[in-house]
Symmetry: C2
Subunit: 215 residues, 2 copies
DNA sequence: GACGCTAGACCGACCAGTCGGTATGCTTGA
DNA sequence: TCAAGCATACCGACTGGTCGGTCTAGCGTC
């Protein structure tokens, strides 16, 4: 817990000193490398099927290093979640707080969340596959954070319903669950080297959402 | 593989004999009990976090019984998938092959898949959480079956687009992925003892889908 | 007495996490 | 200026325990 601060220091501390590692990915500080490799492996094989040994081997360190920066394997997963949640909340706030009609703001936010999701597909895969492997307390805190995000989004929908620009006969809450179901499942079918860019999918998804809300 | 026939026999064989077990659920033949308990446990804790020992204990038998009816833990999971896929494909066909305008048939099929999903929420949770734990071959066959299901649904959408009753500027394929994302995620937020029935959610979801397809 | 079914002890593999230890470089004070 | 003292970063062997799956023996029913 308190230990986390230690790791953050290193991020700058390491860059400043004179060591000059060879490999490109080895430039990154150990903590970042562990997070990156864990993300990749968790997304590919799942949390439970990935051993700590595999993670540290992929990051080019040993267990000692991992347990220096993280409390447990669970803590590692939690950090991955925290990073995603922070990023998405930040972006949503930016779009929701912008100027303009609510329909435009919702469209922009919806497009953006799709783009961000396909840009971080591994995170998305981990999210809905491995969340239930977290310890109960961690699980609760992640869900609470997630709920706050959904509520922000729901308020946008509800605003449009109050203004009469969206149909109001379907609960805003459910519209959000409906839409985010689609977004979370991008990881199961979207391929970055397929025919569609994230932008295109985002626009289509946002169109479908806005159209479904037409009165 | 061939062994599976053995288990099916038992279903009737067991009911006939004179044993008189105490608990209600013990009336069911062993194979069914194993499948039922495995489904419940996998949905709650995930495939990897559920041990074979826990499954057989819940079903009131021992490992010997389980490995008599199933090849492996993986095979058990595969059977759960096969059961769901069979059921859903059957129902979709019934709705898709019915008489009437395509919009009505799609609406009915969409409502039904939601209702069926919330009626078997455990199956749904397992599906999108544990699919990637299957051995590669099993995984492939499950995906192929799933794809056939999606294609049947997609053809309904495409038919409506050809007829001009649905907007045609969004690929039918993507509409299906959009919709089924929402359906698969019911397991993460829907609660049977919540304020909404499966029928209500189904109707809302189908309304959203049909509305989003309005030209 | 053969066969379907089940029990449960057992095996080898593996895994998360621990711990004693080394290395590196920063800080402090004379 | 430099050396002593100390915190940080990391190593890797090891431990206690769990797991999936196997195997042999026994039970009941034709």
């Amino acid at each position: 817990m308190a230990r986390r601060a230690t790791g953050e220091h290193r991020v700058t501390g390491d860059r400043v000193n004179g060591e000059r590692p060879a490999g490109g990915s080895l430039e990154e500080p150990v903590r970042q490398r562990l997070l990156a490799e864990a993300t990749r492996l968790f997304a590919g094989r799942g949390f439970e099927s990935t051993s700590v040994q595999e993670i540290v081997a992929a990051a080019g360190v040993t267990k000692g290093a991992m347990y220096h920066y993280f409390d447990s394997k669970d803590d590692l997963l939690h950090e991955i979640y925290a990073r995603v949640l922070r990023l998405q909340m930040e972006r949503l706030n930016r779009f929701a707080d912008a100027e303009g009609p609510v329909a435009e703001r919702l469209h922009a936010a919806a497009t953006d969340v799709v783009v961000t999701t396909v840009d971080n597909l591994d995170d998305s895969k981990i999210f809905f596959r491995s969340m239930h492997q977290l310890t109960p307390e961690t699980y609760k805190s992640v869900r609470a954070e997630r709920r706050r995000y959904h509520e922000r989004f729901r308020d946008l929908v509800a605003e449009g319903q109050r203004d009469g620009v969206f149909r109001a006969d379907i609960p805003a809450e459910m519209v959000v669950d409906f839409f985010f179901g689609s977004v979370h499942h991008l990881g199961t079918w979207y391929h970055p080297d397929g025919p569609l860019t994230g932008q295109e999918v985002g626009r289509h998804f946002a169109d479908l959402l806005l159209n479904s809300l037409r009165p």
